[in-house]
């Protein structure tokens, strides 16, 4: 980890319709570090991620990204087109299903023989895995994930954890929310409690 943070979150607060979700939240994110955002349902975990991504604005406080060019995000929506095949969906995200690196990841996730299937015909878990392929083959230096392991079996979850660990080793940073514990060395940030 480097000495200067790539993200500084300073005393941010957030409310929706006068319902305060979190207050005076502060933390830093360094290169090669993972942050696990924890909290009860409705505590503002997803809202915090959306604030960090710049989609929403905090009611108070500052978010400072240092020298960040690219962030990649997977939220509750998988960013997949049901009427397109797996290969076509990968193409939309700039990935070639025939590329060795993509092929190998599809093989790991047991999707290698489904490239010509329509995404609409895949199960929720398979769609989630396909969405994660886009995340892991991205060149962005910050990965932001909102409940990445929902709908995945134990084996895939372990695989996802190992992918995330290898991303950390590449000096990428990860911020994620997950109710399912991941075996990933990460700093915890609690939200909510109001």
């Amino acid at each position: 980890m480097s000495d200067s943070p790539m993200l500084e979150v300073k005393n941010i607060s957030f409310s929706i319709n006068q319902n305060r979700l979190f207050q005076n939240l502060s933390f830093d994110l360094f290169k090669g570090q993972a942050i696990h955002v924890k909290g009860a349902n409705g505590s503002g975990k997803s809202s915090l991620l959306r604030i960090l991504l710049g989609i929403s604005s905090p009611s108070k406080g500052d978010i400072i990204w240092h020298n960040i060019s690219k962030k990649v995000f997977l939220g509750h929506k998988n960013v997949l087109k049901n009427y397109l095949t797996v290969a076509d969906n990968l193409h939309l995200h700039g990935l070639d299903a025939a590329h060795p690196e993509v092929k190998s990841m599809l093989q790991d996730l047991n999707l290698h023989n489904k490239t010509e299937l329509l995404v609409g015909n895949l199960s929720y878990g398979q769609q989630k895995k396909l969405a994660l392929v886009r995340i892991f083959l991205n060149t962005s230096n910050v990965i932001i994930l909102d409940e990445p392991c929902v709908g995945l079996d134990d084996q895939t979850r372990k695989l996802i954890t190992s992918f995330l660990s290898s991303e950390l080793n590449k000096n990428k940073s990860i911020i994620y929310t997950s109710h399912i514990p991941l075996e990933l060395s990460s700093k915890e940030v609690m939200v909510g409690g109001f």
């Binding site: 989609i55 962030k71 995000f73 929506k77 960013v79 076509d88 700039g94």
Partner: protein
């Protein structure tokens, strides 16, 4: 910008019913309308252009119904706003591709039918430019309506947009009137082109702002 163009074209091209369906609706209206009145009637020649404008208006309205909805629902817009700074270029390209795959074909079909109805090649000079310009304007305006009513149903979007379309329909009517009396139509076409040039830039900008607000 070119990558966005390629990907948006790829998406729409693969969704056959989204662009072929509206073209078939247009074809159905233009073919079936003359069958409902006396084919040899002179009235047919006079009212056919009006049918053409209304048919293109309805076709565009149907075709752009889900122009942003699908991308909004599956997270594409949210993802695009995170990974790419320019929602504007995405909206601009989306509208252009809809015109390319729907606006141009219905303009060509409409021109073909207007020549068949009038029996004069001169109809080409009226119908083709008027339809090419008006369909692009219609797509822009209906897209604006749909962006405003994103997630609230397309009827609301159409209702919001309708008043903005009336001046264009009046201009189209004037063009036909002038053409029938043998008056100059190019000044009116230029006026419509001017409106289009303003719309091409401003509407995608406004839409991208509206979408950003929806995403928040």
């Amino acid at each position: 910008m070119f990558i966005i163009f390629k990907l948006e074209l790829f998406k729409l091209r693969k969704k056959l019913r989204a662009w072929l369906g509206p073209i078939l609706v247009f074809l159905l209206i233009t073919i079936s309308f003359p069958l409902t009145i006396e084919l040899a009637s002179d009235d047919l020649k006079n009212v056919f252009y009006s049918v053409l404008w209304i048919a293109s208006l309805l076709t565009v309205m149907v075709s752009v119904e889900g122009i942003f909805l699908e991308d909004y629902e599956d997270g594409t817009l949210e993802n695009f706003s995170v990974t790419n700074d320019s929602l504007f270029s995405m909206v601009l390209m989306k509208i252009f591709i809809y015109w390319l795959l729907i606006g141009i074909p219905i303009s060509l079909l409409g021109t073909f039918f207007s020549i068949s109805m009038s029996g004069q090649m001169s109809s080409l000079n009226v119908a083709l430019p008027a339809m090419l310009i008006s369909t692009y304007i219609f797509i822009n305006l209906f897209s604006l309506g749909n962006s405003l009513s994103l997630n609230k149903g397309s009827v609301l979007g159409a209702l919001i947009t309708m008043p903005l379309l009336f001046p264009i329909l009046i201009l189209l009517g004037k063009i036909v009137l002038n053409a029938n009396f043998g008056f100059e139509i190019y000044n009116l076409l230029l006026l419509m082109l001017g409106v289009l040039l303003l719309i091409i830039v401003f509407i995608p900008f406004i839409i991208s702002f509206i979408i950003r607000t929806h995403l928040e």
